[in-house]
């Protein structure tokens, strides 16, 4: 499922989007609750994530947003992006 520009993604769309952007390599069946940080979303990838989120979804993630709780899983990250958009 493709994420749409400037529209809050659901967790599955977010997984595809993370792959498309080359931010982290996730299997097609990566679970919505899967651990993104363990899957390779390291500190450098997180910076690229911030840039890409700003570009695609039009929201700025701040240093305070970048906690393990917020980035932990596609579900949590999708929720973070959605909350910033509303």
């Amino acid at each position: 499922m493709r994420a749409t520009k400037n529209k809050a993604p659901n967790p599955t769309e977010l997984i595809d989007w993370l792959n498309d952007e080359g931010l982290v390599e996730l299997d097609w069946d990566f679970p919505e609750e899967g651990d993104l940080i363990a899957a390779g979303l390291d500190s450098m990838a997180v910076m690229q994530l911030v840039v890409a989120v700003e570009d695609f979804f039009g929201v700025e993630l701040t240093p305070d947003n970048l906690t393990r709780t917020n980035l932990e899983s596609p579900r949590k990250l999708a929720a973070l992006i959605a909350s910033k958009m509303s």
Partner: protein, 401 residues
């Protein structure tokens, strides 16, 4: 004036992880050996460029516990380094890595080199030419304005850049500019803050903010901080594209390398200044250590009797004449956006044949380290220091034999 430095059984060019292993092993095998290194200390990228972990020392495995893949020199280095740092192998998924400190590495290398009665180590000398004359090699060195000659029966090219191939006009390989593994600039920071996961994520956010505000250059996106293992000390690693002034990355070009040095320092200084002003835990931080040179992951490689391929590693192939095991996954760094790891199909090592250390059709010449005969993909595994020690050891033994 051209001075004569005498005749040796083995000359090792370059004292990085591969060259020091080669020189010590050749000397231990009874060969009269000389190691020539242009810097004032050995260790290469592991000291002069502040690369601070030994990868490739251990087998790839799911079970807990680190197992040395190539006993011998690697085991010796592992013991000395963990005794110095008090830190053992660290598990990351299926990989074990030994954190190493460049300052300790310099001292350990000094001790090991000085302990060999058959070995002379010459720092501050750069090999600048090689010829084959009847049955011996003639080597020219420069140091200051002097030129020195020496002769030897065998040579080990542990220069990292296959310099001997260039002088002899022999076949070598360089990946296309856009595929070369990207370089990086590593620097030391004095910083009281702990670098744990939460701090790393927060710092990532701060750097993005600094870039957004126009206070930091976009290159700062290539930065990672890691604890050095010493209290209050952190290493920053800045991955760069290496493209300089509109020209593609060329690891063998002095202008390109100069651009890398300038850019690395500029970005590092801007980031540390910014963090000191914008993150309470970094307020007293400052840069404590520049590298002697920017880090180069890949440059020119030899083409030997056999070219190790990425497929050999994926399939964990073995060879009758193998001299070491390659255990590190292929760590692709073709962009400045972090690594992409390619693991073998099964979690098993592949063999590195002696033929990869032997340039085709040239007697008594051996290669070790990151410029052995391997394709671009295989080089992404065999360049790690654990494997460089092992190919160095094998080249030293072969050259002495």
């Amino acid at each position: 004036m051209i001075a004569d430095h005498g005749r040796f059984d083995v000359v090792v060019i370059g004292g990085g992880s591969a060259g020091m292993a080669a020189a010590i092993t050749a000397a231990r095998s009874g060969a009269r050996t000389i190691l020539i290194e242009r810097h004032g200390y050995a260790g290469g990228m592991g000291t002069a460029s502040l690369v601070h972990s030994f990868c490739g020392l251990y087998l790839l495995r799911r079970e807990p516990g680190a197992v040395i893949a190539n006993p011998g020199f690697c085991g010796e280095i592992e013991q000395r380094m963990s005794a110095a740092t008090g830190i053992g192998p660290q598990r990351m998924g299926r990989l074990d890595v030994l954190p190493q400190h460049p300052v300790e590495f310099v001292r350990i290398a000094d001790e090991m080199l000085a302990a060999e009665p058959m070995l002379e180590t010459l720092f501050h000398a750069e090999v600048c030419g090689i010829e084959r004359d009847a049955d011996e090699w003639r080597i020219s060195l420069t140091h200051r304005t002097d030129c020195t000659r020496l002769a030897s029966s065998s040579i080990v090219d542990a220069s990292g850049d296959a310099v001997v191939a260039a002088w002899l006009g022999r076949e070598c390989a360089v990946a296309p500019a856009e595929k070369l593994q990207r370089p990086a600039y590593v620097f030391g920071v004095r910083c009281a803050a702990a670098i744990d996961e939460a701090a790393r994520l927060r710092i990532s956010g701060r750097l993005c903010e600094g870039i957004r505000e126009g206070l930091l250059p976009p290159e700062a996106l290539g930065l990672t901080f890691r604890a050095s293992g010493r209290l209050g000390e952190v290493f920053g690693t800045l991955d760069l594209t290496g493209n300089m002034n509109g020209r593609d990355f060329d690891p063998l070009d002095a202008s390109c390398l100069s651009g890398l040095e300038f850019t690395g320092r500029q970005v590092a200084a801007a980031v540390v200044r910014y963090l000191a002003g914008h993150d309470a835990t970094w307020s007293d931080s400052y840069i404590s250590h520049w590298p002697a040179r920017a880090g180069i992951r890949e440059s020119r490689r030899w083409v030997g009797e056999y070219v190790l391929t990425g497929e050999d590693l994926l399939e964990s192939r073995h060879f009758d004449d193998e001299i070491a095991l390659a255990t590190w996954p292929m760590e692709m760094r073709e962009t400045a956006k972090g690594p992409k790891l390619r693991f073998p199909t099964e979690d098993l090592p592949a063999g590195i044949p002696l033929r990869c250390l032997k340039p085709a059709g040239i007697d008594r010449l051996f290669v070790a380290g990151r410029c052995i005969s391997a394709d671009h993909e295989a080089q992404a595994s065999i360049r790690v220091m654990g494997t460089c020690f092992a190919t160095g050891e094998a080249a030293g033994r072969a050259a002495a034999g």
